[in-house]
């Protein structure tokens, strides 16, 4: 079954990994008591594990190269047909709507709460998707706008008693404003220069929040941010959690609707054109400046919106919640889910936020698994879980007919 050369290869890989992990996994020095702990067991484990995993690795790579066509066989087409079947379609919509509505009443407050978090990341992901997925502008400082939204609610509430629902549009507007503020200077930048400037911008916002005590209360943050009230009635924590969940569901529906419509609009097409080829895009008469600024502003507006919800949900914010890692996670979830595809982003958000929550059992190994999963996912399915289907034109005998 296995060729000898394969086995030799795997032995080499296993030897290499035993060498590689030797100092860090095997030796543990105690520099204070001057003792050395030799953990040979780890070396054996690594050797055995890498021996077998290397087979799997090569097999999977081969599958990826040759087998990608075969996979689209019966199973997926059966799935597609079932999905398209109107009977199945309507009944499942009803079922799922019921599920969404029933969710907070069936499950515990904790489940509802993390579901709300996941929904928040759906909004964030869809927002960033406009900038990165549609317009192709790599933004590594997206969390800055999230912070703007969160702080605008927290500060406005603290000083002027602005309520949650008033803060929502304000947060979105401020987010958009900061998006434009960032957009102007970086208009000339391309690719990775843009990435680092946005990263710098994100850090600048965080540093200002951290250091400018009189304005933002510095690292001690703002506590006691009120949760939204239900027409003036203050709710208990159980009711509020449910309430926040439904607010988030509505926001997600709104976001999905708007983003979906934007994609097909004139500006959406302009973004995609911009992403594909800037020069050609300009030659077509698209105003590059305006298009880019629109992308930054609309993307940032959603982050501002999500920020307001975040502040209300956590009831305490400080600059430590808005680090670069957060930007990286939002970016990762859209790439992992499938960039440009709305459904992909939603899937990505659920996996990224819910997976670490449910991986709590592994506690210490959680982030290790998370990092490894990101790498493996990219290696074996770089286009993301759900691939964006491109729109194309099919010329048939009866003239041009648009298809997707």
């Amino acid at each position: 079954m296995f060729k000898l050369s394969e086995i030799i290869k795997s032995i080499a890989v296993s030897a290499w990994f035993m060498f590689l992990t030797f100092p860090i996994l095997v030796i543990k020095v105690n520099t204070y008591e001057k003792t050395i702990d030799w953990r040979w067991k780890n070396m054996i484990l690594i050797g055995i594990a890498s021996f077998f995993l290397s087979f799997l690795w090569r097999y999977m790579l081969k599958q990826k190269e040759y087998g990608s066509d075969k996979k689209k066989s019966k199973a997926s087409s059966f799935f597609k047909n079932t999905v398209k079947n109107p009977k199945f379609y309507t009944s499942s919509i009803v079922l799922i709507l019921c599920l969404i509505i029933a969710f907070p009443f069936v499950f515990s407050i904790y489940q509802t709460n993390i579901m709300t978090s996941a929904l928040m990341y759906v909004v964030l992901g869809l927002g960033l998707n406009i900038v990165v997925g549609l317009a192709g502008l790599l933004d590594l400082g997206y969390v800055a706008f999230f912070a703007v939204g969160a702080y605008s609610y927290a500060l406005l509430n603290h000083h002027f008693g602005i309520t949650f629902f008033m803060a929502l549009p304000i947060g979105a507007l401020l987010g958009a404003f900061f998006g434009i503020l960032l957009g102007f200077p970086v208009l000339r930048l391309k690719g990775d220069y843009l990435a680092i400037v946005t990263l710098g911008f994100g850090e600048i916002i965080r540093l200002i929040l951290e250091n400018w005590n009189d304005f933002s209360f510095g690292p001690s943050g703002i506590a006691n941010i009120p949760k939204p009230s239900f027409f003036g009635i203050n709710l208990s924590i159980y009711e509020t959690t449910t309430y926040m969940y439904f607010i988030m569901i509505l926001l997600v529906f709104l976001t999905v609707f708007v983003v979906n419509r934007l994609e097909d609009s004139r500006i959406g097409r302009a973004w995609i054109a911009l992403k594909e080829d800037e020069v050609a895009c300009q030659a077509m008469g698209i105003d590059k400046t305006k298009t880019k600024l629109y992308a930054f502003a609309t993307g940032a507006a959603w982050a501002g919106l999500a920020g307001v919800v975040f502040a209300a949900k956590t009831s305490f914010i400080n600059p430590a919640s808005f680090t670069f890692l957060e930007s990286a996670i939002i970016l990762s979830l859209i790439v992992l889910g499938g960039m440009g595809s709305i459904f992909g982003v939603i899937t990505g958000a659920f996996i990224f936020i819910l997976l670490p929550e449910y991986l709590r059992a592994f506690s210490d190994y959680r982030m290790l698994v998370f990092g490894a999963a990101m790498v493996l996912m990219m290696v074996f399915r770089p286009q993301g879980i759900i691939k964006k289907r491109r729109r194309f034109y099919k010329i048939s005998d009866s003239g041009g007919k648009k298809q997707r």
Binding site: S92, L99, S108, I109, P219, S220, S236, K313
Partner: protein, 384 residues
């Protein structure tokens, strides 16, 4: 076209369904009989701040195992429920909701002030008493916003006051540089220290600055301390930054006095800073190592875990004892009787005999000044 969009929405709904079911199956397991008293332990149990959270978990385990070996409290067994918040406010909210959805009666935690602030609102709403071994932010008790909150550690302002008084009255320094690590804890403490120095009108603050945690070196800040001719440095923050600053100061042959807080009064600080740590002052919880309960707690820890206990172990041990005592004395886990018992009943703990004041701070828990001498923290004799 419409159909296409529909199918997309459908897929989107399917994912909801999928997660709904996962969630259903995970939560199905969680139905617990309401018989035992459930104590939630919340704090950082993984990640880089785990070393602050694990000792609390261990303290609780030691006490609860011992109580359960007899017949629990009021003939009810005690069940421990640990939840990790990695010291992040946004995670702490999830942790708190998870604990209350699993029906905890009281919570010991959280470890970090920020996470505690975020979680307290939730506990307050469902009337659960929270007792923290290490959340030192003064506003937690002094703002009066959280009547359900208690702690077995003195707030930061007490510590800052001690540091400043010690510097001005005992060491007789006139020029003080106040540094912090830009963190919630460090900056808060440094601000108190700065204000106390200003109020004293004897000494002056020659430098007030935050250093960036994790920066590759601190030579510029150290040069600045030298240029401002500060006689003493008061640093608010944790030991990694403190040991970097002190090492660089000593490398530059500066003899400036270094005073810091209980984030630094940790044996790791001496281990990492080595000979540079010699002579450094740090405030820490009052030395109670001769207290019989403390001796027992530490020896139990050594017996079970084979090593010395970590940060806030005794505070956590006291917190658990205090809350169990309150449950026992009030014969219930009811919110009002619990808070009442905590405020009225004295309890013997490793930190001495305690009860809590109206705001939730433990009476009798304070700080002492320590100095590193020959590689160990030694309590300074001068009474303050």
């Amino acid at each position: 076209m419409v159909k296409k969009i529909k199918s997309r929405f459908l897929l989107f709904f399917l994912i909801f369904a999928l997660f709904g079911f996962t969630v259903f199956f995970t939560s199905a397991k969680l139905s617990i009989a309401a018989e035992p008293i459930i104590i939630g332990i919340a704090g950082a149990h993984s990640g880089d701040l785990a070393s602050y959270g694990i000792p609390t978990l261990r303290a609780a385990k030691l006490i609860i195992d011992e109580k359960n070996a007899k017949c629990g409290i009021n003939n009810r067994k005690i069940k421990l429920l640990a939840e990790d918040d990695v010291c992040k406010p946004e995670i702490a909210v999830n942790t708190a909701t998870k604990l209350i959805s699993e029906g905890v009666h009281v919570v010991v935690g959280h470890i970090c002030s920020g996470a505690t602030k975020a979680a307290l609102g939730i506990y307050k709403d469902v009337k659960i008493v929270v007792i923290s071994p290490s959340a030192t932010n003064p506003a937690l008790t002094k703002s009066g916003n959280y009547p359900n909150f208690f702690r077995t550690i003195a707030p930061d302002d007490v510590q800052a006051k001690l540091e400043v008084d010690f510097a001005i009255n005992i060491l007789k320094v006139k020029k003080i540089a106040v540094l912090h690590d830009k963190g919630d804890y460090g900056k808060g403490l440094a601000e108190y220290a700065r204000n106390f120095i200003k109020e004293s009108k004897i000494a002056q603050v020659v430098l007030y600055e935050g250093v960036t945690p994790g920066a590759v070196d601190y030579s510029a800040v150290v040069q600045k301390i030298k240029r401002k001719k500060a006689e003493a440095v008061i640093f608010g923050g944790y030991h990694p930054e403190a040991s970097k600053i002190i090492t660089q100061m000593r490398k530059k042959r500066m003899k400036t006095i270094f005073i810091s807080d209980d984030g630094v009064k940790d044996d790791t600080f001496i281990k990492v800073a080595g000979e540079s740590a010699e002579g450094v002052y740090a405030t820490g919880p009052k030395n109670t190592s001769n207290n019989p309960i403390a001796l027992k707690a530490v020896s139990d820890h050594k017996r079970v875990y084979g090593e010395d206990p970590g940060a806030f172990f005794l505070n956590a041990y006291s917190a658990v004892l205090a809350i169990l005592n309150a449950i026992e004395k009030s014969c219930s886990t009811d919110y009002n009787s619990l808070t009442n018992a905590l405020k009225t009943e004295f309890v013997a703990t490793p930190l001495g005999i305690l009860k809590f004041d109206d705001k939730g701070d433990a009476i009798g828990v304070g700080f002492s000044m320590y100095q590193v001498k020959n590689g160990v923290f030694v309590k300074i004799k001068q009474a303050l």
